[in-house]
């Protein structure tokens, strides 16, 4: 048998009907994640055609995008951004009841961002195919699953058939050699990678992150890396499962239990690219060269070390981007005055992300005039953080501690920045208007976001961490 990559092993195991020159493969989907924004039209299609949902047991739904992060009003109602947002949530509740789908709604102790709760519940497992009407489904690749975002029409396809029509993508290995320097994390690394290969460098490819620096990452960090694969144009990014993965998954509610666990782990150990497996493209990244990294333009590929000069614009789009951001060519981003800090999103809202921000903030106050939102990724993260007292670190520093959700990552729930405001954000997209019309976004790690909140300017977290250690 020829040597195969991790991706090829997962792909091959899910082919129901092989592809031909004229027709794509029919690919089986193990886990379908659903949220309120990209599903209503798909449920509507099922209803219109009188079709059942084929495998409700393989669907997991939650509320995250349109949900307010502020607590209930005095009258018990939720402070939705508008009636339409509330109607969308109600619609998903109705749809899940009608089609027998497990929904982690308002009353669930496990509600949260879809890409945070899938892994938390142990629903995300190595070797699976996982889809969701959400481009950041790539997050689940951290477990060695083939996970990618789909459109609403395809959401309907999966609901009706548990399958998708897919052409086999190309493969790209991203080797990250060496070790990340102290105070430099997974977010800095993935921004550095996207800055290196470009916002479209991964288009048509599935990425596999490999090498010593990847193996050294925690699961939370691996999720941060895989999450942003789509920001390089790649629908999916994978990391081979290993002892770190198994230890993280063991005992989670939906993970295999008892003897089934041992059988599963034995199977999962084979989910590695074979020696000599060929990739269509290979890229090498030196982890030791990565510094605290931020974006300076209006897409995630416009990323540089915060102390490096902003490159001059070379085309109309870059000129527009620098103009929109008020970024000055030749000057570093470090030191730029800021207005808002957002810690959250499916990229950086897990417990370790919150700890990273809290370690910088502990015993300090954020700068006058800066607004800081900390939004945990799930109810479980919120509980764990509160048990550790992290919420008190945030509120004592002057930040707002909110309920779980996507929040200001895409600003559709009413959490947003004002026109012209500069947001240092741990989320994944710095597109024009992403965090509010006219708002300017600088993507950064939780540590950088926290340090910037303290300084009132884009700041290097290593200065604060050194002080804390001293």
């Amino acid at each position: 048998m020829t040597a195969r990559t991790l991706f090829e092993k997962v792909w091959d195991a899910h082919v129901v009907v092989p592809e031909t020159p004229d027709t794509p493969a029919v690919l089986y989907v193990d886990l379908h994640l659903v949220h309120e924004v990209t599903s209503p039209q798909a449920f509507g299609d099922l209803r219109a055609r009188g079709l059942p949902l084929r495998r409700p047991d393989r669907v997991l739904a939650t509320l995250d995008h349109s949900t307010p992060t502020l607590p209930r009003n005095a009258d018990g109602t939720r402070p939705y951004a508008n009636a339409e947002a509330q109607a969308q949530v109600t619609q998903l509740e109705m749809n899940c009841r009608e089609f027998g789908v497990e929904l982690h709604g308002w009353d669930s102790a496990d509600r949260g961002i879809v890409h945070v709760i899938g892994p938390e519940l142990g629903a995300t497992q190595p070797g699976m195919t996982i889809v969701c009407g959400d481009s950041h489904t790539s997050t689940h690749g951290a477990f060695g699953a083939l996970a990618f975002g789909i459109g609403t029409t395809e959401v309907g396809h999966v609901m009706a058939t548990q399958c998708l029509l897919q052409r086999k993508p190309h493969t790209m290995a991203i080797y990250v050699d060496g070790r990340l320097p102290r105070g430099v994390g997974a977010k800095d690394l993935i921004l550095h990678i996207i800055g290196t290969i470009g916002i479209d460098g991964g288009t048509g490819y599935v990425l596999e992150y490999r090498g010593a620096a990847i193996e050294a990452l925690s699961m939370d960090q691996r999720m941060t890396v895989c999450n942003m694969s789509i920001e390089a144009g790649a629908r999916a990014g994978l990391i081979a499962p290993d002892e770190t993965t198994f230890a993280w998954l063991k005992g989670r509610p939906r993970a295999p239990q008892g003897s089934a666990w041992d059988v599963a782990v034995a199977r999962w150990r084979a989910l590695r690219s074979d020696d000599g497996a060929a990739y269509d493209r290979e890229v090498r990244i030196d982890a030791g060269a990565v510094k605290p990294t931020v974006t300076y333009g209006t897409h995630p590929g416009m990323a540089i070390a915060m102390d490096a000069p902003v490159p001059a614009a070379t085309n109309a789009q870059e000129r527009r981007a620098l103009g929109y951001m008020k970024s000055e060519a030749g000057k570093p981003m470090q030191g730029t005055p800021i207005d808002v800090v957002f810690v959250g999103s499916c990229t950086n809202s897990r417990l370790s992300d919150l700890r990273e921000a809290a370690d910088v903030l502990r015993g300090r106050r954020i700068a006058e005039g800066v607004r800081m939102l900390v939004v945990p990724g799930s109810e479980a993260v919120r509980r764990d953080a509160e048990r550790e007292g992290l919420h008190q670190v945030f509120t004592a520093a002057g930040a707002e501690w909110r309920l779980p959700g996507c929040s200001m990552c895409l600003a559709m729930n009413g959490d947003l920045a004002q026109p012209g405001q500069l947001v240092v954000s741990t989320s994944n997209r710095n597109f024009e208007g992403r965090q509010g019309k006219g708002a300017r976004t600088v993507l950064a790690s939780p540590a950088t976001a926290a340090a910037s909140a303290l300084a009132g300017r884009i700041a290097d977290p290593r200065e604060y961490l050194a002080e804390a250690a001293a």
Binding site: A87, I150, Q317
Partner: protein, 196 residues
């Protein structure tokens, strides 16, 4: 959406959106995604780029300029449709009157979503792309069957669509209907997996 209208040929003048990396947030901002319908999104297409603060058309938006009126083919800068997987982007473009997007590279998820809705997301080679970006307003005929674009001077630009997507466009094939025909194979796959 079951029945899909066959699309064989499109004739229109071109309008140019020269920016690269026009993301789906720019095509339709997230705050408009609270809808539970597909219809009526055209008025929101390119919303924050297209309108002034008072709601009137922003004359600096390329598609608001008189020569772009009525154009249903957009020639866009490289990597159109990047970012969010929201299918609201092709829904909004179609409802706004766009029937085709020509580009030297189109983001994967957007391209798939567009073709499933009958929006021709077509990748062309870079020299032809550059030429079209530099020559807005020329009349093109996009022929899906022949996989070529006819220029007014008789020139032709070849392109290649994924064969199944092309078949579906030409014949108005409903892809869910096609998938449902494989129900037997899907059941067999599930039985095999359960046995393993």
């Amino acid at each position: 959406m079951s029945a899909v209208q066959p699309i064989v040929r499109i004739r229109s003048r071109t309008a140019v959106l020269i920016d690269q990396n026009i993301d789906t947030d720019r095509i339709i901002p997230a705050r408009f995604l609270t809808t539970t319908a597909r219809e009526g999104l055209g008025k929101l297409c390119f919303h924050d780029w297209r309108y002034q603060a008072d709601g009137s058309d922003d004359p600096s938006f390329p598609l608001n300029q008189p020569q772009a009126r009525g154009c249903s083919i957009i020639v866009a800068g490289r990597n159109f449709g990047c970012g969010s997987s929201r299918e609201h982007a092709p829904w909004a473009l179609l409802d706004y009157g766009v029937q085709a997007v020509l580009c030297s590279e189109i983001a994967d998820i957007f391209r798939g979503n567009a073709l499933k809705n009958g929006l021709l997301a077509i990748v062309i080679d870079e020299p032809e792309h550059r030429w079209l970006l530099e020559h807005p307003g020329i009349e093109l005929v996009i022929d899906v069957r022949e996989q070529c674009i006819a220029l007014p001077d008789g020139g032709r630009i070849a392109f290649r669509l994924e064969p199944f997507a092309r078949h579906c466009l030409l014949n108005g094939v409903d892809q869910l209907g096609y998938l449902l025909q494989h129900a037997g194979a899907i059941t067999q796959y599930e039985q095999r997996e359960n046995a393993a």
